[in-house]
């Protein structure tokens, strides 16, 4: 198990966004988190690499063990946590720099500046993000000149470059067209050979297509967590069934 999440509750001030959630996430698999707006799924995924630490008045109870270590323990280096557990956001957010510099960014802030190393990592990450063939001739062009789908794959390359073990995707395709979405979905499936992938998505067909395991959240609670095939063909819980068949939400 990559993650063991034990009785986790998350609060923004007095408001509880995640309620007593326990689950285990297997390494090298794709886990999808689905649920209606405001169900706590983004808050939950952001707990997994301490992204919520930046939010004022955020508070977490319970334990999130990553490979046996509590990622919220005081003596842990938060930068190292986020290096190992990378994140890709809803809107492609490349830096206003070249394609090359975007992919090399994580290494540069780690103090790596040797050209040979950077070249190699940039190429490898762009290849893994299925973008290399499209940008190899214009690595020094602005990343902002890329299409939305290419920008999102560049963000994935940027996340991969620091050699993480887990990649968290928060609605990675909601700003993309269907073709770009299909490319990112193919990429997610390819990535699970090397990485643990956790994806929050509003698109249930996407969850059904790309994930091995799915968790359904509602009003901060984890209602059902099971293999994806079962969730989408014969869920055990009536609430899950009503949500995925569009009877509420």
């Amino acid at each position: 198990m990559a993650f063991k999440i034990k009785e986790v509750s998350a609060f923004y001030g007095g408001k509880q966004a995640v309620k007593n959630v326990s689950l285990a996430i297997q390494a090298r698999s794709v886990t999808a988190i689905i649920g209606p707006s405001g169900c706590g799924k983004s808050t939950f995924i952001r707990c997994l690499n301490r992204m919520n630490d930046l939010v004022p008045q955020f508070r977490l109870e319970g334990e999130i063990l990553y490979n046996g270590t509590n990622i919220y323990s005081r003596d842990l280096d938060i930068t190292e946590v986020r290096r190992r557990i990378g994140m890709v956001f809803q809107k492609p957010n490349p830096f206003p720099k070249s394609i090359y510099e975007n992919a090399a960014y994580g290494l540069r802030i780690q103090g790596i500046s040797k050209k040979g190393t950077l070249d190699k990592v940039v190429e490898e990450s762009l290849k893994k993000a299925a973008l290399w063939e499209e940008v190899r001739d214009r690595l020094h062009a602005s990343a902002l000149a890329l299409s939305g789908g290419q920008q999102q794959r560049l963000c994935i390359a940027r996340a991969i470059a620091t050699q993480p073990e887990v990649i968290l995707f928060d609605e990675p395709c909601s700003a993309l067209d269907p073709i770009a979405t299909a490319k990112v979905e193919d990429l997610i499936t390819a990535l699970k050979k090397e990485y643990t992938v956790i994806i929050v998505t509003h698109n249930m067909q996407q969850a059904a297509r790309v994930s091995d395991v799915t968790g359904f959240f509602m009003m901060g609670e984890l209602i059902e967590f099971d293999i994806t095939q079962k969730i989408f063909t014969a869920p055990s819980n009536k609430l899950t069934e009503d949500y995925i068949t569009g009877r509420f939400g």
């Binding site: 209606p36 249930m204 067909q205 059904a208 969730i231 989408f232 063909t233 014969a234 869920p235 899950t240 069934e241 995925i244 068949t245 569009g246 009877r247 509420f248 939400g249």
Partner: protein
């Protein structure tokens, strides 16, 4: 994200399955009655109208495929559509069995039956009752009733055995009855298969409700 139009379309598909089942049940009932009454006109009508049943099956199948393609149904909705596609196939085949009995009646023509019909109508009634209750179980999503119906297939098989034995004896006693007796064995066989098809439908109802495929009664034929 409530989807009223989609849920209405899903309900309409199920209503059409019930209409198709009614039509099939009526064809079956009429085919046995026509054989009993030696009513060739009714048999001809059943043969003519089988095409309506076939068309209903394709219409429903089209609607299911359209809903799958455009609405991405999931969970119970997906299981309903998968079950419906199978159920209409079995209903259409039951329609063919009714047509088969009608054709036998026409083949017998003006000849008299080799024996009075007692157990064949009984098989027909049993099959019809199974079909009607099965479609009620489909509406009510009643798996207990569906399972019960599967068990009743044994009674139909037993009636078939009895008819077969009886007709065999008639043929041994008088070889001139072979043709007429064979027609009645074919009729009984159509009814035996009808009950098997109802069993298939019942299995699909259990799948539709539970998500589990179960083979609930393996016919001895």
């Amino acid at each position: 994200m409530t989807r009223e139009a989609y849920h209405k379309a899903l309900k309409d598909v199920q209503d059409e399955v019930l209409r198709m089942a009614d039509k099939v049940g009526k064809a079956l009932k009429d085919s046995i009655e026509a054989l009993k009454q030696r009513d060739l006109e009714t048999s001809k009508r059943i043969i003519r109208e089988d095409i309506i049943i076939n068309r209903m099956r394709f219409d429903i199948e089209d609607k299911c495929l359209l809903l799958i393609a455009t609405q991405q149904p999931m969970a119970v909705d997906l299981r309903i559509l998968a079950a419906v596609i199978n159920i209409i196939t079995d209903l259409e085949r039951i329609g063919d069995h009714a047509e088969g009995i009608a054709k036998i009646n026409i083949a017998i023509g003006e000849d008299s039956l080799v024996k009075p019909l007692v157990d064949i109508p009984r098989m027909g009634e049993k099959g019809l009752s199974m079909l009607e209750r099965c479609m009620k179980a489909f509406v009510d999503k009643d798996i207990e009733s569906a399972r019960q119906i599967c068990n009743e297939d044994d009674e139909v098989d037993a009636l078939y055995d009895q008819i077969y034995r009886e007709l065999l004896l008639i043929m041994i006693e008088n070889p001139r009855t072979i043709q007429g007796a064979t027609y009645l064995i074919w009729t009984a066989h159509n009814l035996e298969r009808t009950a098997d098809r109802v069993t298939n439908i019942a299995e699909r109802i259990v799948f539709m409700v539970t998500g589990k495929m179960e083979e609930m009664n393996v016919s001895k034929y």
